[in-house]
Symmetry: C2
Subunit: 345 residues, 2 copies
């Protein structure tokens, strides 16, 4: 039988109120009493029941990391896991307790975001994987009661923040890298049309091309839903139809799609980077092992998680109110891009 606060109180010869105060770090308690209480607690292997605590207290120390679309994650991607590590890493260091919950479109709980938080008694939430199409997204924008930080999605509103890299700049940089290497006809392998990151990355490419006196038109974009398989199929179809006649480079909005594209290129008998240059986005570990190594933009999701948790904590403790944290990104120039100005491959 696991003891309750009553057992500790009895054993220490005090009332339950005093035990509670001891466990909540109140100062107005005689050191000796406190000592006796902790000894008793130790002996009984006692620690406060969280449900009871949540029920009676307004002062919560637990946060939730909600992963939207968990099941849709490609096992080759480690983004979400690294994010978890980052969040956990911060939470631990500050005595916060974090629980990871998941949702996915198939089993999407018909529950509002606010309800979820209230029901689970969480003091704050980090949200990842949400897209602007998610049912509860609009609700999120309005919610002002529960502190919330979103990863990679703009979340305006009081008590709401978001953290991301500067997707526009990152995307522009990688497009400029391609342009610098002589590529003028770039095919963009894009993710979900309405995903926030996608829109931003598109903007970056657009800007880069504009600067080079080019225009990004509809027929230079292949929408592939951030899926390796779809990218593979789409690029295969594209190659069957166009061969090398139209574009010299594929700029992909995720490494996973770049993997699919690379695979398609090879299977169609073309070479990377001789026939097509390919770039990715995210910097997942696999990009260090492909042949050739994939040029990409790396963002450290562990850092995102850490920064997100930290920011959330600041909102919770009223040291911050809202805002956007921009994390650095790194352009990783590797073998999958060829300079076509220097002559044939």
């Amino acid at each position: 039988m696991s003891g309750s606060i009553r057992d500790v109180a009895r054993r220490a010869g005090v009332s339950i109120g005093t035990v509670s105060r001891a466990f909540n770090g109140y100062k107005d308690i005689k050191p000796e009493t406190k000592k006796r209480i902790f000894e008793a607690a130790e002996l009984l292997d006692y620690s406060p029941n969280l449900s009871a605590r949540n029920l009676s207290s307004k002062n919560k120390r637990n946060i939730a990391l909600i992963i939207s679309g968990l099941l849709e994650n490609n096992p080759k991607e480690n983004l979400m896991f690294t994010l978890i590590q980052g969040v956990y890493s911060y939470a631990c260091s500050r005595g916060l307790e974090v629980a990871v919950y998941a949702t996915d479109s198939a089993h999407q709980r018909q529950m509002s975001y606010k309800r979820f938080c209230v029901d689970h008694s969480v003091a704050g939430v980090i949200l990842s994987g949400v897209t602007m199409e998610d049912a509860y997204f609009s609700e999120l924008m309005e919610t002002t009661e529960i502190p919330c930080v979103a990863i990679d999605v703009e979340l305006p509103g009081k008590k709401a923040g978001w953290v991301s890299i500067d997707n526009v700049a990152a995307s522009q940089e990688i497009a400029e890298l391609l342009i610098k290497n002589g590529h003028r006809n770039i095919l963009v392998i894009s993710g979900k049309k309405n995903a926030a990151v996608n829109v931003e990355r598109l903007t970056g490419v657009y800007a880069a091309l504009e600067n080079a006196g080019r225009r990004l038109t509809r027929d230079n974009v292949l929408y592939c839903d951030f899926s390796e398989e779809i990218a593979y199929n789409q690029v295969k179809g594209y190659l069957k139809e166009n061969g090398t006649s139209k574009h010299t480079a594929f700029l992909c909005f995720s490494d996973i799609m770049a993997l699919g594209a690379m695979n398609a290129v090879k299977e169609c008998g073309y070479r990377v980077p001789e026939d097509f240059s390919i770039t990715g986005f995210d910097g997942i570990p696999i990009t260090e092992y492909t042949t050739p190594l994939l040029t990409t933009v790396a963002q450290d999701m562990k850092e995102s998680g850490f920064a997100g948790a930290k920011f959330l904590h600041e909102i919770m403790t009223k040291k911050a109110e809202m805002g956007h944290i921009i994390l650095p990104h790194r352009l990783l120039e590797r073998g999958s891009v060829r300079n076509i100005a220097e002559g044939p491959g």
Copy 2:
């Protein structure tokens, strides 16, 4: 202000007891009343507060997946994440709610396993990443109160089960593959000495060598703690000292260590598989991208998670009591092993 059961009751013109019954699927309730209640609930965006429910009910529907050593996971590995997906996948399908919690040696909470479950009001636990050295492991072995399923660690006891592949057989198979390819002098790159999987895999290799009239001795094993970096350094040291004089193959107890070994081999100017054959264990995605592709034993962690959750659910609902679920593994023969009986590389 988020409504409570009282608001719904008032709105539906019934008592809170009736609302509670409606929400817990009791049959003895007039359909019409039920309908009215759900309408009111819908209107008020109501759903039961979990803390309160946990506090008052014995009948819990939430399980926890505890990941031990979260922070120590190499980002190249996706094992844990895939495991989460599997657990979640089953839980969703059965209306169970799952929360993922983490612990790690650095911030290891000084709380017993049982307390954790009681405090969080979880009905059952899936445990992963624990080693036999973990503080609470021995306690786990004795706990009979809370249903628990461990991944990859033997967990005897009532209400306790474990799921894993047949590590002995898998390990024996991969050793035999090496032997079949003419390798007689095999260096084992081992993980943590006392990790359960490690002991089993060692047993498998031992058996295979025995059958080939060989003996696995201490100086044929390099302990590398399941770390890529340690494997890299150890193998580098080994090569500096021995070159190709002693062994022709490295049998690694994890892909991550195989990656480190492979890297060391290449950096020392040797080739895989010409100078050294290398095998891994786990079947992480990266093994499909290395040069050469890594021969390994794959286990589907998503399936492990699913099976673990299913088994736990059976224990919780008393359809099962304890036991061991053995999942299939697949030997993936790829380019990192060379047949040295066929002549020099």
